[in-house]
């Protein structure tokens, strides 16, 4: 077990190191999320009330759009310098690689989400501090589901034609439950209600996370196999 986790950790470490040195994804992704805020503002107009009613949806729209870009890229680095071969040749259970990639993706999403959560209140004049601890629970459950499917589909689409188009086309319909659950739970939390009010949605998100994780862990080796 510890060897398994160590292999997963090595993948995370490798990706973090690559990202720190190349600064390829995260900078652009953060800039993209700021850009989204501007787009939302222009699309909705200056009225405060409108933004406030749409806030849970806007937040998740931001996370999902950033996810579509970020998660879709997560296996593209492996296409350079035959890194893919290296992954295929790795001894042991291949699902450790999936777990490592997933953890890396959750990390990237967490950074983007943190940035959006800081910037949203600033640009739209809102105060989220009271709801923040409860919001983090919703974010964690929603992000795990998004990243679990995104990592699996990202590995598939990295190896096919028209991947930029195919990735969202596969990911978005599969994420309907996560989007519905996360937006509804966020709405409840932002209305100042306790987490218990959103229990049904949190359970749904947790169940979805478990199903996606299990499918991802079990099927990843078939995706990785030589291209």
């Amino acid at each position: 077990m510890s060897a398994y986790l160590r292999r997963a950790w090595i993948v995370v470490w490798k990706d973090v190191l690559t990202e720190r040195r190349s600064k390829e994804s995260l900078n652009a992704l953060l800039f993209f999320s700021v850009l989204l805020l501007f787009i939302f503002q222009f699309a909705l107009g200056p009225e405060r009330a409108r933004v406030e009613t749409a806030l849970p949806g806007l937040l998740w729209l931001g996370f999902i759009l950033a996810g579509v870009l970020g998660l879709g890229r997560s296996f593209l680095v492996e296409q350079e310098n035959d890194c893919w071969e290296g992954l295929v040749l790795t001894p042991g259970d291949k699902s450790a690689i999936y777990l490592g990639k997933l953890a890396g993706n959750v990390l990237v999403m967490a950074v983007v989400e943190a940035a959006l959560l800081v910037l949203f209140p600033v640009f739209f004049g809102l105060d989220l501090t009271g709801a923040l601890p409860r919001l983090v629970v919703v974010l964690a459950l929603g992000t795990l589901g998004l990243a679990a499917v995104g990592t699996l589909f990202g590995a598939i689409t990295a190896q096919v034609r028209a991947r930029e188009l195919l990735f969202p086309v596969l990911l978005l319909p599969a994420q309907v439950p996560v989007l519905l659950g996360a937006v509804s739970a966020t709405e409840i939390v932002l209305a100042g209600q306790p987490l218990a009010e959103a229990a049904q949605w949190l359970k749904l998100l947790a169940a979805a996370d478990v199903v996606y994780l299990v499918v991802g862990l079990l099927t990843f080796e078939f995706v990785l196999e030589g291209a």
């Binding site: 598939i156 319909p173 439950p177 519905l180 199903v211 078939f222």
Partner: protein
């Protein structure tokens, strides 16, 4: 064999059509428009059968690595998407006169639409990969996730509607279905299943020819 199945399906469809217009009674509340049900319900039941077979074919392929299972999956997925589309379109035509709208974000409508999108994505993915072995692997993974997702989609959409507003649409079907209606429905269901099996056999045959041609 396949040809015989085709003729059998055609015969069953003609009988089903005849029953839908000649034998089944005119529905008291909705009138003749209710007869769309004899297309709508068999289509959706057939679509569910098709997606169950996609799931079975996907699992079968990953376990055995025999392309026959993949042929089953693709041969079921294409008519499955077709029948789901037919369900949505026929439901829309039925909805306009009875509910007064082509589309509403009702739980069942929404989850059927999501199902349609998931399997259109599945077919798009298949179109992007050329090697049969790779295509089969990727498609199987997406097919398995899609099937595992169906109950999650179902509940999420159901609660989403339930929490926002109670269903304002009344399903005007007579609760204990009258015998002639049930019988007509059954005949049409059998006819659609036969038609689906015919499509399945034909499509699997085409897939087999494609593979032997390429290899």
């Amino acid at each position: 064999m396949t040809r015989a199945l085709g003729w059998l399906a055609a015969l069953a469809l003609v009988i089903g059509l005849g029953a839908a217009f000649g034998y089944a009674p005119r529905e008291a509340v909705q009138g003749n428009v209710q007869r769309i049900m004899y297309l709508h319900v068999p289509a959706v039941l057939t679509a569910y059968l098709a997606f169950a077979l996609v799931f079975a074919g996907s699992l079968g392929y990953l376990f055995t690595r025999r392309l026959g299972w993949d042929r089953l999956a693709v041969a079921a997925a294409e008519p499955g998407v077709l029948f789901t589309g037919l369900t949505i379109v026929s439901g829309s035509i039925w909805g306009k006169p009875t509910w007064g709208t082509w589309w509403t974000w009702d739980a069942r409508l929404t989850s059927t639409a999501v199902l349609f999108l998931v399997y259109v994505g599945y077919l798009l993915l298949r179109g992007m990969v050329d090697e049969p072995d790779r295509r089969a692997r990727y498609a199987a993974v997406v097919g398995i996730l899609g099937a595992a997702n169906i109950p999650i989609v179902h509940f999420s959409v159901k609660w989403w509607r339930a929490l926002h507003q109670p269903s304002t649409i009344l399903g005007p079907e007579p609760s204990p279905i009258a015998a002639p209606i049930a019988l007509t429905l059954l005949v049409n269901w059998i006819a659609f299943t036969l038609l689906f099996l015919y499509f399945l056999a034909r499509r699997a045959e085409i897939a087999r020819l494609e593979e032997s041609h390429a290899g």
